[in-house]
Amino acid sequence: MASETHDAAGQAASTPGLPQLDLSTFGNQIFWLLVTLVVIYFVLSRIALPRIAAVMAERQGAITNDLAAAEDLKAKAVQAEQAYLKALADARTEAQTIVGQAKAEIKAELDAATAKADAEIAARAAEGEKKIAEIRANAIDSVKEVALAAAAEIVAVMGGKADAKTVGAAVADRMKG
C-alpha cells in the first residue's frame, strides 16, 4: 500500500481526473470499509455461518437417519418374508407328517385286519382238518368193527370157532397192511 500511496500523492495533484488516486478520500473509504468488514464479519460469524452450518448438519443427520430407517424397514421386510416362508415350509412338513401318520395308521389297521383274517382262516382250516381226521378215524373204526363182525361171521359160517382175539389180531394185521 505504501508504494501506491506515494504514486497517488504524485498524481493526485496533476491528474484530478482519476478519483481512485484522490488521496483526500482514502481516509473516508478506509474507515467505512473497516466498519463494513467488521459488521459483515460479526453478522457472519455470530449469526449466518453457525446457522447455515447447523441447518446443513441437521439435514445431513436427517438424511442419514432416513437412510438408516429405510435400511431398518428393509431388514424388517426381509425378516417378515423369511418368517412367512418358514411358516409355509413348516406347514408343508406338518402336512406331510400328518399324511404319513394317517398312511401308517391305515396300513397298520389293514395289516391287523389281514392278520386276523389269516388267523381265522388258519383256525378254520385246522378245525376242518381235525374234523376230517376224526371222520376218517371214525370211518376206520367202523371199518374195523365191520371187518371184525364180518370176519367172525365168515369164520362161523365156515364152521370154525371164531376166537375173538385171533380174529381181532388178524384184522388189525390186515388193516395195517
Binding site: 501506491e4 481526473g17 482519476l18 473516508n28 473509504q29 457472519l44 449466518a48 455461518l49
Partner: protein
C-alpha cells in the same frame, strides 16, 4: 447511466467515464472527511444489507428443505468452505469466517456496482489495498507465529540447486512483497476498467440525437457493445471475487504449510 452524456444545451458528446468513481458526500457539498457520510458509506451499507438479507433473512426459517434464497446462501457457504478446505487445508478453517467476509463483501460490492448509477466500492484502490494488506499481514503474522523462523523456509527453495538458492530466495522475497500490490490492483483495475468502458460506450449511445446519419450506425452498435460488456462484467464481478478469495487461500496455505 448515459443521461449526463448529452448535457442540456451542450453540443457534441461528453465523456466523463471516471466521474462514476468520484467519492462525494451524500448530503451537501464540501470536503470528504474521514467520518463523512459519502456514497462509499451508502454502497457499503447496501452491501451489508444485501449480505444480511441473503445470509441471515434468507436462512431465517432454517428449513431442512431449503427455499431458493436459503439454497443460494448454502451454496455460497459450501463454495467458500470447500475452497478454503481444498486450497489451504483443514487447519485453515479457523479463517473461514474471515475469508467468507472478504468474499461476500467483494462479490456483493461488485454486483451492486453493476446497477445503473451505482458506485463501485471495489473499484477503489484504497478499498482493495486495505483488504490485500489485511490478507498480507494475516498471512505473515500467522506464518511467523506458527512456524517462527521456519516460515522463512518459504523463501529458501530447497529443491533447487544450492548455487541458485540465494537468487531464487531474492526473487521469492520480492514476489512475496509484491503479492498485496497485485492482489489489490487486480481487483480494483478489473472493476474500474470494465465500468469505464461501459461508460465510454454509453457516451456514444446518444449519437443519434446529434447526427441521424452516423447515429443510425453508432447508436445500435454502442448499445450492443454496452450489453455485451455488461454481460462480461457480470462474469468478471464473480470471477474477481473468486480470484481474490482463492489467492487469499493460496497465501494462507503458504503461512500454514510453508514447505515447498
Amino acid at each position: 447511466m448515459a443521461t449526463e452524456a448529452h448535457g442540456a444545451g451542450e453540443p457534441g458528446l461528453v465523456f466523463h467515464p471516471m466521474d462514476q468513481f468520484m467519492v462525494k458526500p451524500l448530503f451537501g457539498e464540501g470536503a470528504v472527511g474521514v467520518f463523512t457520510l459519502t456514497n462509499v458509506t451508502l454502497w457499503m451499507a447496501l452491501t451489508v444489507l444485501a449480505i444480511f438479507a441473503l445470509l441471515v433473512l434468507g436462512t431465517s426459517r432454517r428449513a431442512t428443505i431449503p427455499t431458493r434464497t436459503q439454497s443460494v446462501a448454502e451454496l455460497l457457504y459450501d463454495f467458500v468452505r470447500k475452497m478454503v478446505e481444498d486450497v489451504a487445508g483443514k487447519d485453515a478453517l479457523v479463517f473461514f469466517p474471515y475469508i467468507m467476509t472478504l468474499f461476500l463483501f467483494i462479490l456483493f460490492a461488485n454486483f451492486l456496482g453493476l446497477l445503473p448509477m451505482a458506485f463501485t466500492t471495489t473499484s477503489h484502490i484504497a478499498v482493495t489495498a486495505v483488504m490485500a494488506m489485511m490478507v498480507f499481514l494475516t498471512v505473515t503474522i500467522v506464518g511467523f507465529v506458527k512456524h517462527g523462523a521456519g516460515f522463512l523456509g518459504l523463501f529458501w527453495v530447497s529443491s533447487a540447486p544450492l548455487a541458485l538458492r540465494p537468487v531464487l530466495a531474492l526473487i521469492e522475497v520480492i514476489s512475496y512483497f509484491v503479492r498485496p500490490v497485485s492482489h489489490s490492483i487486480r481487483l480494483a483495475g478489473n472493476m474500474m476498467a470494465g465500468h469505464a468502458v461501459v461508460k465510454v460506450f454509453a457516451a456514444f449511445a446518444p449519437m443519434i440525437l446529434i447526427s441521424t446519419g452516423i447515429g443510425l450506425v453508432v447508436t445500435p452498435l454502442s448499445i450492443l457493445a454496452i450489453s455485451t460488456i455488461y454481460a462480461l462484467e457480470v462474469l468478471v464481478a464473480f470471477i474477481q471475487a473468486y480470484v481474490f478469495t482463492i489467492l487469499t487461500c493460496v497465501y494462507l496455505k503458504d503461512a500454514l504449510h510453508p514447505s515447498h
